[in-house]
C-alpha cells in the first residue's frame, strides 16, 4: 500500500478550520475556491451542493476502505457513490459541512483527496488487472504506486500549468489509457528485462490527440526519470496564461513532434545527470489460494493467468452504486475464507480479482440484482449537466434512456453493440473519443429554440499501434439518440458482421443515411419533445451553465490578489503590523503581472516587473519604486517598520484596483497615466556663483579621455557643471556623444580655441 506523506494528511486535517473561516467570512470565496478544488471539493451546478473526489491511488483499494466508503455514503451523500473514469470514487450532492465530515472519515481509512482537482498530477492510472490478466506482461502496479508516492512528495507538483495525467498499462491492449495520456507507460520485456514503451502528450478534451511514442524501451527502473523529465518540460514550456492551451499536448502542437521530442530528451538528460530516482520496489509476491476451474460465458467473468482464479467486473448503472448494493458485495467477500482484491477501473466500475471459479459465478449472479452483463448496459456517461457546471447534455439520463430502449429487446439485438462512451459536452470526461461508439453533448439553435443534441463518433481506440480518436459522423437530437442506437443494433444484426469496427467500415454508407434520417429537427409544434432534455421538465437552455472550476482563470487570479491586498490593508489598520503592509504591497504589485505574462512568487521579481510594466510606463507614480526598496529592506530585516509608508502603499493598492477596473475586453489598461512632474524642485539647481572647474584632457586619447571625464563627473553633484578640454578630431567627435548617452547634458561645445575644444557638461 501507498505511504501518504504527512503534509498531505495534515492538509486534510486543516480543512475543517478553513471551512469554518470561509463560513464566518474570514476567507473570501475567491480564495477558498482554489483551495477546496485542490482538495477535490467541487461545487455542483446547484449552488451550495458539492462533490468530493477521493484519491484511490491507481484504483487500489482494500476491503476495509471500501467498507468505510459505504458507511460514509450512507451518512453524508444520500446513500450512493459514483465510480469515475479515472479509477476514483466520488461522493455527490454533499453539503459543505459534510464535505468536512467526509474528508475526516476518509482520512481515518487512509484515503486522501489532495490533488484530485486543480493543476497537478491527477490519479495515476493503472491497468485494473495488472498482475493477473492473461495478457499481463508484468505487474505494473508497484511502479504506478511509486509514481503516486513520488508525486505526492513533491510540493511543486501542485502548481503545474494544468493537469498532468500519468498512466501505466500492463500490456499492449492498454487498459489504463497510456496511449492517450500526458505520460503513458506500457509494459514490455526485452531480453528478459522488464521495461516500458513510453508515450506522451496525448489527451482528450479540447484539441484532443493520441500520444506520440517517446521511447521504444526503457528499463522499468527508469520510469521516475521520465515522470520528472515530463514534469520539468511541462513547467518550462507549458502555457500558464491560457488554460485552454496549457496541457502538454498543446506544447506538442506548438513545437511540432520533432522539437517536442528533442525537448523531452534534453529534459530527460538533465534529470538523469542530476538525480538518482530508481524506486525501491519490494517484490511482494505472496502466495494465493488455489483455484477451481469453471466454464462460463458471462462476459463479466474473466479468467486470470493463474489456473482456476477469476476476476469479476462490477458495473453499476451510470457508475452510481447504492451503498446497500455495495454492502451486498462486501458481505459476500467477507464471508470467503480468503481475501480477494478489488481494483477500480476507468470505465466507472471495478474488478474483484483472485476469486475461485465457483465464487466468481456466485458474485456474477449477485450483481445481476443491480447490474447487467450486456456491454451496452455497462456504458460510460460523465456526470453531465445535472451536476457539472460545464455540461450541456444530461448525459447520465441519456444513458438511462438508451438502456431503457434495450430493456425488453431481443438478446441478439442487445448484444450487438459495444460499450458507448458519453460526455455531456466536448470536454470528454466520458471519454467519447476513445469509444468504438462515442457521444458528446451539444446545443443547436433551431427556429423554435435551442435543441439538446449529441454528436456521433465511431472508431475510437486505445492500445499500442492502434490508438486513434473517434471520427464524428453527424449530430442527432438527444431525444432521438436511444432509437438511433437501437436501429444501429438492428442494422448490425442484419449485416451478420460480428466485429463492430468491421461493421462501421463496411456499412458506412447505410449508417450515414441512418444518421441523416435521425438528425432532422422538427418544429416545436410537431415534435415538442426535442426541445427538452431527458428527465427535464424545463425547456432546454444553457442557463446555469458556467465556467468550470477545474482551473482558475486569469481574472480570478487577479481578483484574488486584489482582494488579498485590500484584506491586508484593513488588517493593518486594525493591528498596525508592518507585515500586513508588506503583504498588501506585494499582493497589489503581483495582481496585474499575470497580464504581462509574469507568473512568479519571487518578491523581488514581482517588484521589479511591476516597476517595468506599470511605473516605467507611467501608470503608477515613480515614487513607488522607493516604496518597493523599503518593502524589500523590511523583508530582509534591515527596516523595522513600514508604518510611515502606509499612504503610499494604499495609493498603490487603489491604483491597481483602478487599473483592473479599466481593463478593456482585450485586457488592456485604459486608465489615464499619472502626470509626470515637469520641473524638479529648485533645490538641486547649481550655485550660479561657483567657478567652473576645467579639466585638461588635451593629449589624452580615446577612450581614456572619456574614462577620465567620467571619473571627474563622479566627483560632482547632480546639476553641477564641469568643463573638459578636448583635442580636435576623434576626441571632440566622440566624448560629447558618449557623455550624453550616459544621461548628462551638453551645455556647450566651444570651438574657439586653438587646437582644442571646451566641452561644458551638466551632470545628470
Amino acid at each position: 500500500m501507498l505511504k501518504i506523506p504527512q503534509q498531505v494528511i495534515d492538509e486534510g486535517k486543516n480543512y475543517r478550520e478553513k471551512v469554518a473561516d470561509f463560513k464566518k467570512g474570514f476567507l473570501e470565496t475567491a480564495r477558498f475556491k482554489p483551495y477546496r478544488v485542490s482538495l477535490g471539493v467541487y461545487e455542483q451546478r446547484d449552488n451550495d451542493t458539492y462533490m468530493l473526489r477521493t484519491r484511490i491511488p491507481c484504483g487500489v483499494i482494500n476491503l476495509n476502505q471500501f467498507k468505510k466508503i459505504s458507511e460514509l455514503a450512507k451518512a453524508y451523500s444520500h446513500g450512493y457513490i459514483h465510480f469515475t473514469t479515472r479509477q476514483d470514487i466520488q461522493f455527490h450532492k454533499v453539503t459543505l459541512d459534510d464535505t468536512v465530515n467526509l474528508m475526516e472519515g476518509l482520512l481515518e481509512a487512509g484515503i486522501v483527496t489532495k490533488g484530485t482537482g486543480g493543476n497537478t498530477a491527477r490519479n495515476v492510472a493503472c491497468s485494473p488487472l495488472a498482475g493477473v490478466s492473461q495478457d499481463d506482461v508484468f505487474d505494473v502496479t508497484p511502479y504506478a504506486l511509486a509514481t503516486t508516492e513520488y508525486a505526492l512528495n513533491d510540493p511543486t507538483i501542485f502548481n503545474l500549468p494544468r493537469k498532468f495525467k500519468i498512466s501505466y498499462s500492463n500490456s499492449p491492449a492498454d487498459t489504463a489509457n497510456a496511449t492517450i495520456s500526458d505520460l503513458g507507460f506500457v509494459a514490455k520485456t526485452e531480453n528478459g528485462e522488464k521495461g516500458f514503451e513510453v508515450y506522451g502528450a496525448g489527451g482528450l478534451g479540447g484539441s484532443p490527440g493520441v500520444a506520440v511514442k517517446l521511447a521504444d524501451f526503457i528499463p522499468a527502473s527508469e520510469a521516475l526519470y521520465h515522470v520528472q523529465a515530463m514534469k520539468e518540460l511541462f513547467e518550462n514550456e507549458g502555457d500558464r496564461t491560457n488554460k485552454h492551451k496549457a496541457r502538454i499536448r498543446h506544447i506538442l502542437q506548438r513545437l511540432g513532434e520533432k522539437e517536442f521530442k528533442a525537448g523531452y530528451q534534453k529534459s530527460l538528460q538533465i534529470v538523469k545527470s542530476n538525480r538518482s530516482l530508481e524506486p525501491f520496489l519490494p517484490e511482494g509476491n505472496t502466495g494465493k489460494q488455489s483455484g477451481d476451474s469453471i466454464i462460463s460465458f458471462n462476459p463479466l467473468i474473466t479468467g486470470q493467468k493463474e489456473d482456476g482464479l477469476y476476476s469479476v467486473y462490477v458495473h453499476p448503472q451510470n457508475g452510481n452504486l447504492r451503498a446497500e448494493n455495495l454492502d451486498l458485495i462486501l458481505d459476500f467477500l467477507a464471508a470467503l475464507d480468503y481475501e480477494p482484491v478489488v481494483r477500480l477501473t476507468n470505465t466507472q466500475g471495478f474488478f474483484v480479482r483472485d476469486l475461485k471459479g465457483s465464487h466468481a459465478k456466485e458474485l456474477a449472479d449477485l450483481i445481476l440484482n443491480f447490474g447487467s452483463s450486456f456491454a451496452i448496459d455497462n456504458s460510460v456517461a460523465c456526470a453531465g449537466a445535472s451536476t457539472c457546471k460545464q455540461g450541456l447534455g444530461l448525459s447520465q439520463n441519456l444513458l438511462s434512456a438508451v438502456r431503457e430502449r434495450f430493456l425488453n429487446a431481443d438478446e441478439n439485438i442487445k448484444s450487438q453493440l459495444p460499450r458507448i462512451f458519453i460526455s455531456g459536452c466536448p470536454n470528454s470526461c466520458g471519454q467519447h473519443h476513445k469509444g468504438e461508439i462515442g457521444l458528446y453533448g451539444k446545443a443547436k439553435r433551431a427556429a423554435d429554440g435551442l435543441v439538446p443534441m449529441y454528436a456521433i463518433l465511431f472508431g475510437g481506440a486505445v492500445g499500442v499501434g492502434k490508438a486513434v480518436l473517434g471520427t464524428e459522423f453527424g449530430t442527432i437530437p438527444a431525444k432521438k439518440v436511444p432509437e438511433f442506437i437501437y436501429q444501429l443494433a438492428v442494422l448490425k444484426s442484419n449485416s451478420d458482421i460480428s466485429s463492430f469496427c468491421r461493421f462501421v467500415t463496411d456499412e458506412i454508407e447505410t449508417i450515414k443515411s441512418l444518421i441523416e434520417r435521425f438528425s432532422v429537427i422538427e418544429p416545436e409544434a410537431e415534435n415538442p419533445d426535442l426541445y427538452y432534455d431527458f428527465g427535464s421538465g424545463e425547456k432546454f437552455s444553457i442557463k446555469g451553465r458556467g465556467p468550470g472550476e477545474c482551473s482558475a482563470g486569469v481574472l480570478d487570479v487577479i481578483k484574488l490578489d486584489i482582494s488579498n491586498s485590500q484584506f491586508y490593508l484593513s488588517d493593518f489598520q486594525a493591528a498596525r503590523q508592518s507585515e500586513k503592509l508588506y503583504e498588501a504591497g506585494l499582493s497589489a504589485a503581483r495582481a496585474l503581472l499575470i497580464l504581462k505574462g509574469v507568473d512568479t512568487t519571487k518578491d523581488r521579481l514581482i517588484f521589479n516587473e511591476f516597476g517595468k510594466h506599470f511605473i516605467d510606463t507611467g501608470y503608477v507614480k515613480e515614487s513607488i519604486k522607493s516604496v518597493f526598496d523599503c518593502l524589500l529592506d523590511f523583508k530582509l530585516g534591515d527596516l523595522d517598520s513600514l508604518e510611515n509608508r502606509y499612504e503610499e502603499i494604499k495609493y498603490l493598492a487603489d491604483r491597481v484596483v483602478k487599473m483592473y477596473e479599466s481593463l478593456s475586453p482585450k485586457l488592456e489598461i485604459t486608465l489615464p497615466k499619472e502626470p509626470r512632474p515637469e520641473n524638479l524642485p529648485d533645490s538641486v539647481q547649481p550655485d550660479a556663483a561657483a567657478p567652473l572647474k576645467v579639466i585638461d584632457l588635451k593629449g589624452v586619447k580615446c577612450p581614456i579621455n572619456f574614462v577620465k571625464a567620467k571619473i571627474e563627473l563622479s566627483k560632482i553633484k547632480s546639476g553641477e557643471k564641469i568643463a573638459f578640454q578636448l583635442d580636435d578630431g576623434e576626441p571632440i567627435n566622440n566624448v560629447p556623444r558618449s557623455i550624453q548617452s550616459e544621461g548628462h547634458e551638453t551645455v556647450k561645445i566651444d570651438e574657439n580655441f586653438d587646437g582644442y575644444n571646451l566641452l561644458i557638461v551638466r551632470k545628470n
Binding site: 503534509q7 510540493p155 511543486t156 502548481n159 520539468e232 513547467e235 518550462n236 534534453k266 538528460q269 538533465i270 545527470s273 542530476n274 538525480r275 538518482s276 512568487t601 519571487k602 518578491d603 523581488r604 521579481l605 524589500l632 523583508k635 530582509l636 577612450p703 581614456i704 572619456f706 574614462v707 577620465k708 567620467k710 571619473i711 563627473l713 563622479s714 558618449s738 548617452s741 550616459e742
Partner: protein, 269 residues
Amino acid sequence: MDFNEQQIERYSRHIILSEVGVEGQQKILNSKVLVIGTGGLGAPAAMFLAAAGVGTIGLVDADKVDLSNLQRQIIHQTKDVGKLKVKSGEETINEMNPDVSVVTYHSFVDSSNILDIFKDQDYDFIIDGTDNFAAKFLINDACVMAKKPFSHAGIIRFNGQLTTYIPDNDTPCYRCMFKEPPPEGAVPSCREAGVLGVMGGVIGTLQATEALKYILGIGESLAGYLLTYNALTMEFIKINIKKNSKCPVCGDEPAIKTLIDYNGPVCTL
C-alpha cells in the same frame, strides 16, 4: 577613493560601461570574494575576479598541484607542480594584479571551519568551485545559515551547470533542488568521469560573472534558475526552479540546523 593613472588604464573598459562606471569599479575594488577550491572552476573564476580588481580574494584548497591538474586548472603552471595550490594561486594573482590582496586557507572546508572562514574577511560573495557533493551541500547549508550569497556550479564530462543563491527568502537553495547527496557510487566521482578542460573555463567564468553582477547590483542573476551547458551540442538551457517551502535548510521549518559533514569522494577537478 581616487584611481591612480594605472588603475584608470587598467579598469578603463569597465569604467566606460554605464552599468559599471566609476562607482561600480569602486565597488569591485572594495569587494571580497571567497573562492572555495582552486581547481577547474575556481582557477578561472579567481583569475577573472582578480583581473576585474576584486579587492580581496580568499582561496581555500588543501591539495598540492599535480601534473594532471594542468589540463584545466589554468591558475597553476608547470613550474608549480608539487606546490600548495593556494600558494601557486596566490602567486599567479599577485603577478596579474597588485590591487588584489589574496588570503589563503590551506585546508578542506568542513563543518568546523567553514563559518570561521566566511567570517575571517566577512566575504561578500562565495564561489563554490568544489567537485564533490559533500562540500557542495556543506557550502550551501553554510551560506543559507550565514546568509551569504553564493554561486553553485558543477562540471562533468561535457556538461556543466550553475545557479546562484541570494539570501532574500525567495531564492531556492541547492537543497531545494537536490535534497541530499546521492548515494555513494550513484554518481561518478570526477576521477572516474573525466572532464573536457574548457568546461571549468566556461562555467567558472560564468560564476565570476555572477559574482561581479552581484557586487555591482546589475542585471538578473541566476537566482531561481539552473543554467545548464552541454558542450557537445552547444546548448545552454535555463530552467526555472521554485523555492521549496519544505526545504530542510531554507524552508519554513528547517530540519537541518547544524552543518553536516558527508563523506563524499574528495578530489579536485
